[in-house]
């Protein structure tokens, strides 16, 4: 690495790499953002998850949100979809739990059993 051009090239290569991975169906995290989720702190949970993904450099993870699913008392609710695995639904996910789910489930492939509300196998 010697010059600004080298840096630019590295940046472009990295961006292309990120794009490839996000198109390849990596893990997906869904945060419940209905009125009940928002009132329970879902926004802060979402931001904590984004920050933890950033820290762990997990750029292949897709984030999305959903509305109220009728379990308002267990909000914030977070779903984790790992490729080829059943969907895992977590309840009462505060920012700290959100970060731990990223590290344990997304990074280390170990779901955190005691916070799971439901496991849905749609395959």
């Amino acid at each position: 690495m010697k010059s600004m051009e080298d840096l630019e090239r590295l940046k472009e290569e990295t961006l292309r790499d990120i794009q490839l991975r996000s198109a390849s169906g990596g893990p997906r995290i869904v945060v419940g953002m209905g009125t009940c989720g928002i009132a329970a702190g879902a926004r802060e949970t979402m931001l904590a998850i984004i920050d933890e993904l950033k820290v762990r450099r997990k750029f292949d993870v897709t984030i999305s949100e959903t509305g109220c699913i009728g379990l308002c008392a267990r909000e914030p609710i977070v779903e984790v979809h790992m490729p080829g695995q059943p969907k895992v639904v977590y309840g009462n996910v505060d920012p700290s739990r959100g970060r731990q789910i990223v590290v344990s489930h997304i990074v280390n492939h170990k779901p955190i059993d005691q916070w799971i509300l439901n496991v849905e196998d749609n395959s």
């Binding site: 009132a39 984030i63 509305g67």
Partner: protein, 194 residues
């Protein structure tokens, strides 16, 4: 007991309605007008819109457009917080013609909730709905900010990279315009945000 404690959370709820209505572009404007003693928050979208009948019922907590639940508390809670702060909600919509919701508050009203973390709301919304274009305008005590996600987004950029950049731009621009997340009416100044 969970509560919606500031206006940025009400804004997030309004944005969710736009996303639910299938919006492709959402415009948000926040105006703090000290001379007129008005705080106005407006959300306009190009979603599926509401019939005049739906617009009336939208403020009824026991009405919802959703099939999977029986209540719809978003707009009623927004309206309640506005009414407590000497303000109101106006809904302007037509079927398949988008919806504009304008919420006004008396800026100096003792019960006016603080704005809260506006960047957190916009960033979490864009993280969850990356296909929506957002145009955000803020007019504050010392300046203004206009931010258009179409101009910030780069071809081929990952979702996470965009979100991080968007947040930096918002926080920088807003603080220059005099935005303060914790400035609310007398009641909120004394009691903080608890």
């Amino acid at each position: 007991m969970a509560r919606i404690i500031d206006l940025s959370l009400h804004l997030l709820d309004l944005l969710q309605n736009s996303a639910h209505a299938g919006a492709g572009e959402v415009r948000v404007s926040i105006i703090e007008d000290e001379a007129a003693d008005i705080l106005q928050i407006r959300v306009s979208d190009d979603g599926k819109g509401m019939s005049s009948d739906e617009q009336v019922r939208a403020l009824d907590p026991f009405y919802t457009s959703s099939n999977s639940k029986k209540v719809g508390l978003g707009l009623p809670l927004v309206a309640q917080a506005a009414a407590m702060a000497g303000g109101s909600v106006a809904i302007d919509s037509e079927e398949s013609g988008g919806t504009q919701v304008t919420v006004t508050y008396k800026l100096s009203h003792p019960d006016r909730q603080p704005l809260g973390d506006i960047p957190a709301t916009l960033v979490s919304f864009m993280a969850g709905n990356p296909w929506i274009d957002l145009v955000f305008e803020y007019r504050g005590p010392t300046g203004s900010l206009r931010s258009d996600t179409k101009e910030i987004r780069k071809e081929g950029e990952g979702q996470l990279a965009f979100v991080v950049k968007f947040e930096e731009k918002l926080r920088g621009g807003l603080s220059l315009a005099g935005y303060r997340p914790d400035r609310g009416g007398l009641f909120h100044e004394i009691n903080g945000r608890s």
